[in-house]
């Protein structure tokens, strides 16, 4: 009798009659097969986008940032919008793997691997924007506090822009460590199963020689727990610091104390939407519907409706505070947002982020896969507009009416944005081909508690009276010694 008991109220996390071996088969065999035609088409298309992005960036570097639509009034356009958008998307992975680990949310096991990968790729994309926005990118290392012959002249440690450098590089490093340390045992599984020499060699290197001894697992688990504890404040700090880029300035529309929580909620909102976009496709193509179940998608849709509502409250609070402050600059900024020349971006944001996620209060819609997919894209369009609204519509009408300007992106900016999609999906396609997209070892860990077939086996116990249960446990206890009960 298995004594890990989970209530029937909870949906199984793994559907179907799975054994440990079947879990390995289901998740690893797509890696061992040749990818399907869809994969090649998608991968090729991503490479084209990436190539166009590289061309656009090269063009911008060669001719300078004059090729962009930014001007002296609107200094940050699509570029920083895209930066904040990608970094926001990059928040879901660590939230799932760290915060949900601390909260002991079993459902994270099905989605954490893909979400963490998505985080890493999204942060890679985000990092491109501030780097290439420097213009003279060959001087980019000046943001690092390196000893130099200019004094040595150090960067400004009191500036949120420098905090960003530290926050994002730390976030990327820690996410990568978290993700890769989880991959090591799964790589060892691929290695031990490998039939070809090349696969054995490569996964042998990638698995670091992991064999899964009891002591190794103990240390690995300790590491995962502490990394989760460290990543939890880290993930909150990153978007807080990104919001400081705006909030510490004195520009109406930016200079608000609500920004850190509002940005973090927005980041989680868009991140979960992107996870849904990717997983709806991934589970279908790799036939992982039994591991990434509708229950998983529903759980994420619940987080989307929660964070979407937080974001909505933040938008309304901003409007209220603008009026309550009775500062004409503040009031004008928000009036122009709603009714000025950029009204369409404000209303796109409001519709996509505040109104449409409310449909997820309906359970039927939360569990509807095509609807989830469409909504996940709508949310990310909305979140893109949010950043555009914050960045462009706070700056285009500044303190001097004579310098008011209108900003439209030029093709290199659009190409750069498309290029990051290329980078993101190129990485994701490679990941889906060469790495287990579901954490095999973690699924096996929850299988006997939350697997469908094992839960069905529990029905007998569920129907027992308290006395009967006591009796069974007691006999079992005497037969097999104390350890079993203790664990």
């Amino acid at each position: 009798m298995h004594l890990k008991y989970e209530s029937f109220v909870r949906e199984p996390l793994v559907d179907g009659d799975k054994t440990y071996h079947q879990v390995s088969e289901d998740i690893i065999s797509p890696i061992e097969r040749k990818p399907g035609r869809m994969w090649y088409v998608g991968f090729f298309f991503s490479l084209i986008l990436l190539g166009f992005g590289i061309f656009s960036v090269s063009w911008s570097v060669y001719w300078g940032l004059g090729t962009w639509g930014v001007n002296r009034t609107v200094g940050w356009g699509w570029d920083i919008t895209n930066f904040v958008w990608w970094i926001g998307i990059g928040h879901a992975g660590t939230l799932i793997s760290a915060i949900l680990l601390l909260f002991r949310q079993g459902w994270r096991t099905g989605v954490n691997r893909a979400a963490e990968a998505m985080t890493i790729f999204a942060v890679m994309c985000a990092g491109q924007f501030p780097i290439w926005h420097m213009g003279r990118v060959w001087d980019g290392f000046w943001v690092l506090p390196l000893p130099n012959s200019r004094g040595p002249l150090w960067p400004n440690f009191d500036s949120p822009l420098l905090w960003d450098v530290f926050a994002i590089s730390t976030y990327f490093t820690v996410s990568l460590l978290f993700w890769y340390s989880g991959l090591i045992p799964d790589f060892s599984l691929i290695r031990d199963r490998a039939k070809t020499k090349l696969r054995k060699l490569l996964y042998g290197v990638a698995s670091f020689g992991w064999t899964g001894t009891a002591k190794n697992w103990q240390r690995m688990e300790a590491l995962a727990l502490v990394l989760a504890g460290l990543s939890t404040p880290l993930v909150l700090s990153v978007h807080t610091i990104v919001s400081f880029d705006f909030a510490t300035s004195v520009i109406p529309g930016w200079h608000t104390t609500i920004f850190p929580p509002y940005f973090v909620a927005g980041a989680v909102f868009s991140g979960f939407a992107m996870v849904n976009t990717l997983l709806v496709i991934t589970r279908r193509i790799l036939h992982l519907e039994e591991y990434i179940t509708i229950g998983h998608l529903e759980a994420m849709n619940k987080i989307i409706v929660l964070t979407g509502s937080i974001v909505g409250v933040a938008y309304l609070t901003e409007l209220f505070i603008a009026w309550y402050s009775q500062s004409w600059g503040e009031m004008a900024a928000f009036q122009w947002r709603i009714m000025g020349p950029y009204w369409w971006s404000y209303w796109a944001m409001m519709t996509c982020n505040v109104v449409s996620p409310q449909l997820f209060w309906v359970k039927k819609l939360r569990r509807n896969i095509p609807f989830t997919f469409v909504m996940s894209i709508v949310v990310n369009i909305g979140m893109w507009f949010e950043r555009f609204v914050i960045i462009v519509t706070s700056t285009y009408r500044d303190w001097i009416p004579g310098s008011w300007a209108y900003y439209s992106p030029q093709w290199p900016e659009v190409g750069f944005y498309l290029g990051t999609f290329g980078l993101f999906f190129t990485c994701y396609f490679l990941f889906a081909k060469y790495c287990p997209v579901v954490a095999v070892a973690e699924i096996k860990f929850v299988l006997k508690t939350s697997g469908d077939n094992y839960k069905r086996g529990m029905e007998k116990i569920d129907n027992m009276t308290e006395e009967e249960f006591e009796h069974v446990v007691h006999t079992h206890h005497e037969q097999e010694g104390h350890e079993v009960l203790a664990h």
Partner: protein, 193 residues
């Protein structure tokens, strides 16, 4: 680092493994190690291992990060190159909290991961003996170290009696070495046939 002889027992259920570990330990056999496809909670205690102190190392690394950030920035801003920003204090601690926090996390995470790799003896290029090809898949594999005085037959029979699905004798390198996973090691010829 030595080539030794092991009696190997493969179990297909962690609930059989726990009592088996207990029986094997009680009977005086020396368990070399137990290999599992996922983290089996409590196995470390059943084997008599102490809990790991890795988190203490992590705390110390984190502290190093904190000190590095505060020390470095305060040295720059108060003595190496003090800059007057509109009369604000040179020692502006609140403004340094974000970077201090990030470096604390960075040092703790990188340090702990590297320490974990060092203690677990894992690194790209490291090779270790795999007693059963399915130990990373669905079997829980116990390797019992034999010496010249142990009867192989008795050991195998005993392991079988603890509920093992498969038992066999295998010669193996007990430590780790640098090697390629696609190449057979010379000692593995001893296990042929």
């Amino acid at each position: 680092m030595a080539i030794k002889k092991f009696a190997v027992a493969a179990y297909d259920d962690e609930e059989v493994l726990f009592p088996a570990v207990k029986k094997v330990r009680r009977s005086g056999y020396k368990i070399h190690d137990v290999y599992t496809p996922f983290a089996v909670h409590g196995l470390d205690e059943a084997l008599g291992y102490k809990s790991t102190d890795l988190h203490i190392a992590g705390f110390i690394y984190g502290l190093c990060g904190t000190c590095t950030a505060v020390g470095f920035i305060s040295w720059i801003y108060t003595s190496d190159w003090p800059i007057n920003y509109g009369g604000k204090p040179h020692f502006a601690l609140p403004a340094w909290i974000p970077i201090t926090f990030e470096l604390t996390v960075l040092f703790a995470a990188v340090g702990m991961t590297m320490t974990m790799c060092y203690l677990n003896q894992i690194m790209p290029g490291v090779k270790k003996h795999v007693f059963h090809p399915r130990q990373s898949d669905d079997l829980f594999v116990m390797a019992v170290e034999l010496n010249n005085h142990t009867s192989e037959q008795a050991a195998l029979e005993f392991l079988k009696s603890t509920g093992a699905k498969e038992t066999y004798i295998q010669t193996a390198e007990s430590g780790w070495w640098y090697g390629r996973w696609d190449k057979k090691e010379p000692y593995e010829a001893l296990n042929a046939g």
